[in-house]
Amino acid sequence: MQASPVTELLERDGGGGFGQSGPLGGGEGSGNPGVPQRAYVTGMILALGGILMFFMALVSAWVVRKGFPNSDWQPITPPRILWLNSLILIVSSVTLSRSRRCLVARRDEQSRHWWGITTILGVFFLAGQLLAWRQLAVAGLFLATNPSSSFFYVFTSAHGLHILGGIAALLVVAVRPPQRLTRQTATTVVAMYWHFLCVLWLGIFALLWLGK
C-alpha cells in the first residue's frame, strides 16, 4: 500500500468526518480544527472530579486527625461571619444562573449585568473569608495553634484560592472571551465551576460547624 486510501476516501466524503462529529460543531477558524465544544464541558467535569478528590483527601485527613484517642484536638467555633459569607456565595450562584438564562434568551445586556454582580459577590465572599481569618487571629488562633485551627485555615484557603480562580475566569470571559470556546460554552463551563465551588463551600462549612 503506497498512497493512503484514507485520503482518497475522505476526499469523496467531502473533507473528513471529524469536524462534523460534534453536535455543537467544530471551532471554525480556530487554531485547532475540530475540537467539539462538548470537550470543554467534559474537561470541566473531570477537573471538578480532581478538585473533589483533593478536598476528599483533606476531609479524610481531618476525620483521621480528629478521631485519635487522647487527641490534642481543641474544638474552635468558626466565626459567625461565615454564615453571611455562605449567604453571599449562594446568592452569587443564583445571580450566575440568571446571567446564563438571560444569555439563552438572547438578553445580552442583562446577562452581562448579572455576570458582573456575580463577580462582585465573589470578591465580597473572599473579603468576608479574610475577615473571618482576622477574627480568628485576634482570638489568638493561628495556623499552627491547634490541629482544628490548622484544618480551618487549610480548608478555607484551599477553597478561597479556587474562588479566586473562579473570579479570574469570570473576568476573563467578560473582558477577553477565549477564541476557541463559543460564548455559550464558556458561560456553561464557568457556571459549572462556580456552582460546584458553592456546593463545596456549603459542605466544608457544614463540616467545620457541625464537626467542630
Binding site: 486510501p5 476516501l9 471529524f18 480544527p33 475540530g34 474537561g43 483533606l58 490534642d72
Partner: protein, 592 residues
C-alpha cells in the same frame, strides 16, 4: 474548515520557526517526543544512581573520586536511593508510557487531529520539565538530596535538617517538585480523558478502540484521582515542614537530643494518603505497558487479541481494584488485623483480572504466525516479567508472610520486576514498534535482538538472586551489610547482582546507539511497516501537523482484524469501508 485550509494550516505550521515547531509546540506528537526525551534523560540519571548503589553495596569502603570525603556515607547512599526511586517512578515510569507514547499515539489511534486542549498539553509538559529540574537541583543544595526515600515518610521528612543531611533544603525541593508534578499530571489526565471521550473519529466506538487507548484512558482516570490525593498530602507535609503544624508529626519526639515542639500528629496519616496515591501509581506505570503488549502481540501473531472485551474489562477492573489495596503497603504499621485481612483479600483478587490478561496474551500467541522481531521480543519479555513479578506479589499480599519479608530485598525484587522492569520492557517494546512512525526510519533488527537477549537475561540475573537475599533476611536500605555476620554471608550474591547490573546497564548502550543512529541514518520506513490495522499506520511516517493531512478517517471495524477467514489480505485496516475490502483494498468504486 475545509480540507484545503486544514492543509494550508498544517503547511503554515511546518514553516514556523524552530522554537515554535520543536520547543514551544502545541502539537501532541512533538510534546510526546519531548516527554520521551525527558524520560530518556531521567532513566539515564536514575540508572547511574542505581549502579552507584550496587557498587557501594559490594565495595563499601572503595574510594570514589567524585564523592566528597572519598568514601560514601550511609546518608549519601540513602540520598542516592531516594533520588533513584523518585526519578524512576515519576519521570520515567509515569512519564514515558503514559505521557510520551500516550501523547503521541492516542490522538492518532482514535483519528483525531490533536489532543482536545493543545495548550494545556504544552503546559503539562513544561510543568513536568520544571518538576524534573527542581528535583535534580536537590543534589546541588547544601546537605544534598533528601534521604527519606521516594515515600518520604514523616517524621523523617517533616522536621527539617535536624533529621539528617538533605532533609532541609533537599527535602523541601523534593516536595516542591512532587507538587508541581502532581499539577502537570492532573492537567495531562484531564486532556487524555477528554480527548478519548470527545475526539474519536466517526465509527470509533468504545469497543473498536485499540487496547492501548483503553489502557491510556484508564491510566488517566487513575492519575486524575490519585495525584489529587498526593497533592493534598504534599500540601499538609509542606505545612508541617514550614508552618509548624502537626498533621503528621507526633508529640514527644526527641531528635538528635532536641525536643520537638510538634504534637499529636500521625505519621500513619501520611502513609495512608501517600499509598492511596502510591498503589494506583503502580498501575499508572504498568497499565499502558499492558495495552502496548496486547497491541503488539496481536500484530506479530497475525491474530486478533484473544478476548478483546475481557481484556478491556480487565484493564478497568485492575484500575478499580488498584484504589482499594493501598493498605498492603502498611501491614507492619500496627493496623487492625481485620483491616489487614480485608486489604489482603482485595490485593489477591487483583490476581483475577491479571490472570485474565496473562491467559489472553497466551491465547493470542497460541496458534499464531509468530514473527519474533524486536517489538515482539520485548512484548513477550513483558509478559514473562509481569508473571514473575506478579507471583511474588501474591506471597507479599499475605500479612503473615509480609511481616517476615517487609523491608527486605524480596520486596525490592518484587516491585523492580513487576513495576520497573516489566514497565520498561513495555516502553522498549513501544519504542521498537512505533519508532518507524515517530522518526520515519527503522531501527536495526539485529542490534534490537542483541539488546533484548542481553537485557532479558541480565535483568533476571540482577533480580532473581535478590529474592533469596530477601528470604535470608537481607534488609533493604542498609548502605553496608558487611558488618553483620548473617548479612555478610549474602555478599557473594550481592557481588553477582552488581556485576550483572553493570553488564545489563552496558547493554543499554546498544539500544542508545541503535536508537540515535537510526534517527539519523536508519532505513527509510514506509507508512505501515508492520502490516498493522490501526489508524496511526494510515498516515505519513512521521505524520505532519494535523495528523491525517486534513482528511480524517472513518472507522468500520475493530482494531485487531488479523487473518480474518476469507479476506483478501491477512489484515483488515480499521479505516477501509467494506466495499473496498471486497475489491482487495486496491481499487475502489466511487459511489457518490
Amino acid at each position: 474548515m475545509s480540507s484545503d485550509s486544514r492543509i494550508a494550516h498544517a503547511a503554515e505550521d511546518m514553516q514556523a520557526g524552530f522554537l515554535r515547531r520543536y520547543v514551544f509546540s502545541t502539537d501532541h506528537k512533538i510534546i510526546g517526543l519531548q516527554y520521551f526525551f525527558l524520560a530518556i534523560a531521567a532513566v539515564t540519571i536514575g540508572t547511574v544512581l542505581s549502579l552507584l548503589m550496587r557498587f557501594h553495596l559490594v565495595w563499601p569502603s572503595a574510594h570514589l573520586p567524585f564523592i566528597a570525603g572519598g568514601i560514601m556515607t550511609p546518608e549519601q547512599y540513602l540520598a542516592l536511593m531516594t533520588m533513584h526511586g523518585t526519578i524512576m517512578v515519576f519521570f520515567v515510569l509515569t512519564t514515558a508510557p503514559q505521557s510520551a507514547f500516550g501523547n503521541y499515539f492516542l490522538p492518532l489511534q482514535i483519528g483525531a487531529p490533536d489532543m482536545a486542549f493543545p495548550r494545556l498539553n504544552m503546559l503539562s509538559f513544561w510543568l513536568t520539565l520544571l518538576a524534573f529540574l527542581v528535583m535534580l537541583s536537590a543534589f546541588l543544595v547544601p546537605g544534598g538530596a533528601p534521604i527519606s526515600g521516594w515515600t518520604a515518610y514523616p517524621p523523617l521528612s517533616g522536621l527539617g535538617d535536624i533529621t539528617g543531611p538533605g532533609e532541609g533544603m533537599g527535602q523541601s525541593l523534593w516536595v516542591a517538585s512532587v507538587l508541581i508534578f502532581c499539577v502537570a499530571s492532573l492537567l495531562g489526565s484531564i486532556n487524555f480523558i477528554s480527548t478519548t471521550i470527545d475526539m474519536r473519529a466517526p465509527g470509533m466506538t468504545l469497543t473498536r478502540m485499540p487496547l492501548t487507548v483503553w489502557a491510556w484512558l484508564v491510566t488517566a482516570i487513575l492519575s486524575l484521582l490519585a495525584f489529587a490525593v498526593l497533592f493534598a498530602g504534599g500540601i499538609l507535609l509542606v505545612l508541617d515542614r514550614v508552618a509548624a503544624t502537626s498533621f503528621f508529626l507526633p508529640a514527644g519526639l526527641v531528635v538528635s537530643g532536641e525536643f520537638q515542639t510538634h504534637g499529636g500528629g500521625s505519621p500513619l496519616l501520611w502513609q495512608h494518603l501517600f499509598w492511596f496515591f502510591g498503589h494506583p501509581e503502580v498501575y499508572i506505570a504498568i497499565l499502558p505497558g499492558m495495552g502496548v503488549v496486547s497491541h503488539i502481540l496481536a500484530n506479530f501473531s497475525r491474530k486478533p487479541v484473544f478476548g478483546y472485551r475481557a481484556m478491556a474489562f480487565a484493564i478497568c477492573a485492575i484500575g478499580f481494584l488498584g484504589f482499594l489495596v493501598w493498605g498492603h503497603h502498611m501491614f507492619v504499621s500496627g493496623m487492625n488485623p481485620y483491616s489487614s485481612l480485608t486489604f489482603s483479600l482485595l490485593t489477591v483478587s487483583i490476581g483475577v483480572p491479571s490472570a485474565v490478561k496473562t491467559f489472553n496474551w497466551l491465547g493470542t500467541l497460541c496458534g499464531g504466525k509468530l514473527q519474533f522481531q524486536s517489538p515482539m521480543l520485548f512484548a513477550v519479555g513483558f509478559v514473562s516479567f509481569f508473571v514473575t513479578g506478579g507471583l511474588s506479589g501474591i506471597f507479599l499480599a499475605q500479612p503473615a508472610v509480609d511481616t517476615e519479608l517487609h523491608a527486605t530485598y524480596y520486596v525490592v525484587a518484587h516491585f523492580h520486576i513487576v513495576m520497573g522492569v516489566a514497565a520498561i520492557f513495555g516502553i522498549l517494546a513501544a519504542t521498537y514498534y512505533w519508532f518507524p512512525k515517530m522518526f520515519g526510519r527503522r531501527m536495526s533488527e539485529s542490534l534490537g535482538k542483541l539488546h533484548f537477549w542481553l537485557t532479558f537475561v541480565g535483568v533476571y540475573c540482577v533480580f532473581m538472586p535478590m529474592h533469596f537475599v530477601g528470604i535470608a533476611g537481607g534488609i533493604r536500605r542498609y548502605a553496608d551489610s558487611t558488618g553483620a555476620t548473617y548479612l555478610a554471608a549474602l555478599q557473594p550474591l550481592h557481588r553477582f547482582m552488581t556485576i550483572a547490573a553493570f553488564i545489563t546497564a552496558a547493554a543499554q548502550l546498544i539500544f542508545f546507539y541503535n536508537f540515535f543512529r537510526s534517527i539519523k541514518s536508519g532505513e527509510r520506513a514506509v507508512e505501515n511497516p508492520w502490516d498493522a490495522t490501526t489508524l496511526e499506520w494510515t498516515t505519513a511516517s512521521p505524520p505532519l501537523a494535523g495528523n491525517f493531512a486534513g482528511r480524517f478517517p472513518s472507522v468500520y471495524r475493530g482494531p485487531y482484524e488479523y487473518s480474518v477467514p476469507g479476506a483478501a489480505q491477512d489484515f483488515l485496516p480499521q479505516h477501509l469501508p467494506p466495499e473496498e475490502l471486497a475489491s482487495g483494498g486496491k481499487e475502489r468504486s466511487h459511489a457518490s
